[in-house]
Every structure is written in C-alpha cells, then in structure tokens.
Symmetry: C2
Subunit: 424 residues, 2 copies
C-alpha cells in the first residue's frame, strides 16, 4: 500500500470520499460494540464456573492447618493460597500476604498507608509536594491513585525493553520523587515486558528518597497468549545483589485467572515491608475472605493447575488478538499512519495513530457504534501530548464482532489521517 503521507492532494480527496461512503455504510448498520476495558469474556469466566458450586467447601470448610474458613481470623491468608502464589511467583511464603478481591485495592491501600504513615521515617503527606514516576503510556487506574492523593505524576518514556532508565536515574535524584507505578510484564497498554537488564537496573537504582517505593503491579504475570511468551526475571532475586528488596512491593491477583471482582489478590514484599503492611492490616480488618481463598486453592490445586488453566484462557484470547493485529496489518501496513504492538500476552493492543488524530478516531468510532477507551486515558491527567495512543481491548467481544469492530477502527484511522493531511 502507498504511504498516505506521499499521496497528492487530489488523490487524498478522492480517497476521503470513498472512505466517507464506507463510513456511512457502517453507521447505517447501527452496530454497538464495546472495547473500552480489559474485561474477560463470558466464555473465559465459564472456565471457572465449577469453582462457584464447589461442594468440597460445604463438606469441609477447613484450611490445611485446620482453620474453619467460615469464621473470623487469619490476617495474611490461608497456607494453601500462600503456597500457591509462592510457587507461581517464585518467592518465600513468609513474604506473601493474601488479600481480598482486588489488587488495585491493595495498591491504593499501600499508597494510602505511605501517605499517612510513610514507608520510611516520615509520612509522605508530611513531606510537602511529592511525585511519582509513571512509564507512559500506562494504566489509568495507577494515575487515578496518584491523582487522588495529590501526588504529581512525572511521565517516564517507555522504551521497548522497559522504562527509559537514563531518564529515570536522573529523575530520582529529586528526593520528592517517592515512587513509581509500573506493570513490568505485558505492560498496560503496550504489552511490553521489562528486559533482564532493565529489571537489574531498576534493582540497582539509587533514589535520593530513602523511602522510594516501586509499585510492581505484576497483573499479567502468567497471562501468556502464545507459545513464545515473554520472560520477566524475579525482581526480588535481582534486588539481592543491591540489598534493595525494600524498594519494591509486588501485587498480583486472580482477577483475570478466575473471576474479576471475585478473585483473590496477593502482595509480595520484603520482611520489613510485610511487617509494616501487617501492622496496618491489624487495624484495618479481621481478615480477608478465607472461604474464597479456600475455593481458589481447591480449584487450582497448585501452581501447575493455574498454568494449565491459563492455557485455556490463551486458547480463547489468541484468536481475538490475532483478529485485531492481522486486520491492522492488512489494512494499515505501508500507509505510514499508525504503528501497533503484537504482544505475547496481557490484555491490550496499543495503537499509535498519526499525531493529533487519536481523539478524532475515538469520536468517529463512537459515532459508528464502536466505543473505545477514551483517547488520552493511557496518559496521566488524560493528556496524551501527541494525541496519538489508543488502547484496544480485544478480550471481551466475540471474535465475529471483533472482526467488524476492527474494520470500523481501521476505516476511522484512515479517515482521520486523510482529514489531518488535507488540513496541512
């Protein structure tokens, strides 16, 4: 295909007319597609339905150490769940706390704890204006937590192998920079995984703030899509050489393994951080839902059980990602109006449109019956400086819908690009 950038004006005008006709055809069909959020599809949820009516809980509600999971108690999780995550994440059970239904909630609570009690000598809230580093594009909910607590967000460019480490190393010379949010594996939205070198450089980071904390949101730790998955090395192993274990707090959940909103979550942290978090837990709760912990442990049995289960998710998800990326390739290759990733896992395809076109594309799609994540959502303060990034969430719609939706998307991308080029 010919680059639109090199197309003469009269050809662009002619193309615009053709595209507009096609666009009107789509509009007339009154489609109603939603690709806004990274939600599992109902056939993914069906994979865990047996967990819902697990008779074993009814017959024996006791954990492996004899605790009646129907009653009060156990602050940090039942042993079988700790074992499960210790094996999956390759860490000691003593460095694990099992949480409730949401790792986002655990991350929010941890930042809240740092604000009121600090992660070092002083509460963050008592230290004046503080900042967080966030690789961009990134996960909107991370930004929301920072914004909620009045933490200023500094954009860190995301390179192909992780955050721009030179930029970050320079940034953390400022002692008001107290931490960083990141998704180290299959990053949201770009599906990139931090390289071994990047993880080691992070472990070796020497921030001016002694109470600097990296929120290591390992949301997609075992969420591979194909036979060539990415590999993320264990951050706590990397820290050993530098004694920097206290700088990282890892979070994960089964939200996209079992049920979003009805799964279990986990914190992995150093001995010091586990102690500090448990102190807050003691004031905050009597304990999380142990019946749901037991339900999960009995259903998955062990780490291999979870890994096998994730292959079933991949079987459902791979064709959806393939439908998106192959259509993008077919429709847009050579036009020089977009780039996109082809991730080995995670929940998103990240699309970079021609600068200044993302908002227009999302608006055009909406009018044609395809709701996308709002343009800008992948940047702090909803401000994508290039108005270029669009997050595609292909997991929820059926693959047939998806194929049509991507046709609409590609058409709108071309239309927006032509409009832009004709304005010049």
């Amino acid at each position: 295909m010919v680059s639109l950038l090199k197309m003469p004006k009269n050809e662009l005008e002619s193309l615009q007319n053709t595209l507009r006709d096609q666009y009107e055809d789509f509009k007339a069909k009154e489609y109603n597609f939603d690709m806004t959020r990274g939600k599992p599809s109902s056939d993914q949820l069906d994979l865990c339905n047996e967990m819902i009516k697990d008779d074993s809980l009814y017959n024996d509600p006791k954990s492996s150490n004899g605790i009646d999971c129907r009653n009060y108690g156990v602050l940090d999780g039942i042993p079988e769940c700790k074992q499960l995550f210790a094996e999956l994440l390759d860490v000691d059970e003593k460095n694990i706390i099992i949480g409730g239904n949401s790792s986002l909630n655990l991350m929010f609570d941890y930042v809240s704890q740092c604000m009121t009690h600090g992660s070092g000598d002083l509460p963050w809230a008592a230290q004046g204006r503080i900042k967080f580093a966030c690789p961009v594009p990134g996960y909107d909910r991370h930004f929301t937590i920072c914004e909620h607590f009045g933490i200023e967000i500094v954009n860190v460019p995301m390179l192909d192998d992780g955050p721009d480490m030179d930029f970050l190393a320079d940034l953390v010379k400022d002692s008001s920079v107290k931490g960083m949010f990141c998704v180290p594996k299959y990053s949201n939205p770009e599906g990139k995984t931090f390289s071994d070198a990047a993880v080691k450089k992070l472990a070796a980071l020497k921030p001016a703030a002694k109470d600097f904390r990296v929120i290591w949101d390992n949301a997609y730790c075992i969420h591979d899509l194909n036979a060539t998955p990415d590999n993320l090395i264990n951050i706590f192993d990397a820290c050993k050489e530098y004694g920097s274990e206290d700088m990282f707090v890892e979070f994960a959940s089964t939200s996209k393994i079992s049920f979003p909103g009805s799964g279990i979550s986990v914190i992995v942290a150093s001995d010091n951080n586990i102690d500090a978090i448990k102190k807050r837990f003691f004031a905050q709760t009597i304990g999380y839902d142990k019946l749901n912990q037991l339900r999960h442990a009995r259903f998955f049995k062990n780490a291999q059980g979870v890994r096998d289960h994730m292959k079933k998710h991949a079987q459902i998800l791979y064709p959806k990602f393939e439908a998106v990326t192959s259509a993008l390739e077919k429709e847009l290759t050579g036009l020089e109006i977009a780039s996109w990733n082809k991730p080995n896992g995670g929940y998103f395809v990240s699309l970079n449109a021609m600068d200044g076109c993302a908002k227009r594309i999302v608006e055009l799609c909406k009018q044609a019956g395809l709701v996308l994540t709002p343009a800008g959502a992948t940047y702090p303060y909803k401000n994508d400086p290039n108005d270029s990034n669009i997050r595609i969430a292909p997991t929820f719609p059926p693959v047939e819908d998806l194929k049509v939706a991507v046709q609409i998307l590609c058409l709108c991308m071309k239309l927006a690009a032509v409009e832009k080029l004709l304005q010049k």
Copy 2:
C-alpha cells in the same frame, strides 16, 4: 449470700482457703476454654452452609439488572443487596453502598479518607492534634483505628441509655474533637441500646467542628437474643429535624448473620457523604465481590428472610447467655463484688468486678485453663482506670463448656475479691 465487704477477716481467710482448694481442683483438670472474642459457634455457621454451594449462581450469575456478577463493574453494590439492606435498616437505596467482607475495613477506610481528604474543608491530618470521643467501655477495634491514625481518644462515660450526653455536649465544644465511634444497639461490651431520647440528643448535637463525624457502628442491628428485644430508632430519621444527616455514617455487615470474614458489609450515609465515599471508591477499587453479594441476596431473599434467620441464631445463643448470667446470679448475688448486664442481644456479657481486680481475675482464669479477653481491652489504650471491666464472650464455646468456664470465672472472681479485701 453475705456481702464479702462486711465479712470479718478470719472468715475471709477461711473462705480464701476453701476457694484455693477449689481453684487447685479446677487447675488439675487442665481445661482449655477460649472466651476471648465474639465469634459465632460452628453450629451458627452451619445455618448458612447451603449458601456455600448455591447452584443458582452457577446456573445464573446475573443480578436483577442483568449484570454478570462474575465480571468487573458495579462500584456500589448490586440492586438486590441494596434493597435488602434498605429494608432492614429502613433507609433509601440511594443512601446505601454495599462493601466487601468487613465493615471494620469500611470504617477504617472512612477514617483514613477523613485523615487524607477530610470530611469538610480540610483533611483531618492537616489540622494538628485531633481527638475522638469513645463511649467506654467500648470495642477495642475502634480504639485501634484511632490509635493507628494518631487520633487521641477521650473516654465518654456510657450510661444505661447511651453516652453521657452532658459530658459529650461539653466535650464537642473543642473543635479538635472530630468524631465519635459508637455501637448504638447492644453495645460492645455492655449490650446497652441508645434510648430514643439519646439518639435524638445525638442528632441535635452541635459540635464546634463542622467536620465532626459519628461512626455509627450498627454491628448488632438485628442481633436479638430473646422475645423482648431492644429498639433503636433510625438515626437518619432523627437527623431530619436538625439537618444533621451529614454528621452520621452508619456501618453494618452480615459477619454475624452469614459468615464472619465471608459476609457482605454496608454503608448508610447522607447524599453528601455517599458522594464523597464514592469518589474515594472510584480510585480504590473496580468493585467489591458481586458473586458473594448475589449469594447473600439469593439465600436470604428479603429482609424477612434475614429476620427469620436471626431467630435461628438466637435459639443457639440464648441458652449460652442464660448459662452465663444465671451462673453469675447464683454464685455472686449478694456478695457485692460484681455487677453485670443481662442483654437482650449482641455478643457479650459485660462484667464489672471489684475495682482493682480485673487483671488478677483474667490471670487466675488463664492459669485455670480459661482464656478471657485481656482486662483493659474494653478501654482505650488498654487502660481501664478502675481495673474492673471484663468482657465475656459466650457465643463460641459449646454450652457444656460454658457452664464449667463460668464456674471457673466465678471462683476466680471470689478469690481475687478475697485477696483484695485481705490486703486492706
């Protein structure tokens, strides 16, 4: 029986010898009783076992408004749970938020929110040293939340019909007093219920702090034991006359209705407070466990279903409370060394021993194989100024154990009293 206070020294010495022999007999039996916490017994938990394996969730995981409860979404609870609690607590559904497995967690989070964001113009944390009023004796977990956030606790005497309102009205003239924790029905530990007059006076309270908040912990709202239950009037109805709805935030849960740790919780609040809480929720979570909400709504069906269910709890609990109070009456009446309540509901019997004896009694019991809540636990900073109050939690042990345990308790109370009197 003869008052020990009037007993001559030689008779006290003789009694001491007899009691010591009895005490050694108990010790020799090596009992192991635990009455430390207000935990339901396993036969109470059995009442809800069918909920655990509810096939209806498996067959139809959708809420009444068609939401798939297995997936993300719904920040404030599914409609059928809101309806259930609206009916039970006699409030509008719009003033209800359904939470996770712990109302304590919701209370902690609310105080945390007030610390970082305030309940009025300024964050509490930005207002210097702040204070909370707490009726005493009270619930240790409330005190722990205050202590965690560095909020100074001021003891408010608990009278028979509620907090000492004259004392409180005077106290809240101090604008650094930002709130109060209370259990208005079947208070923990005394089982007292705020009278209509007390509730109205609270609604009419005019604290100097415009951002004053009462944490209305209605933990035992429908937890009656007998056919003559206490009645608590609706705080929000009482507020209407004074326009003070924003001053109260009510919390409750099914922890002692269904399963402790695996139940659902609820916030009731004014429109303004609901808005403020939802703002924080939006940053904190995608939503609470909707499958568990649906499980509860389907099991109980409606408010009458919950009320009927509570009668089954009462059938199990009444004989236990009766075993405790009848033994106290039989063993201690007339001795003038103790007073206790005989509650119509709740989870505790509160015992006031002779001043300066509570710690000694708990220690004596422990050595004879009966673990009680530590003396002082019902007071802020674990400091019972009279060293008198002991919280008896009769719900967990089987009634046969309970009968023996109370014999040990009564014996230790007599022994400690005699020791004390002989020291004089």
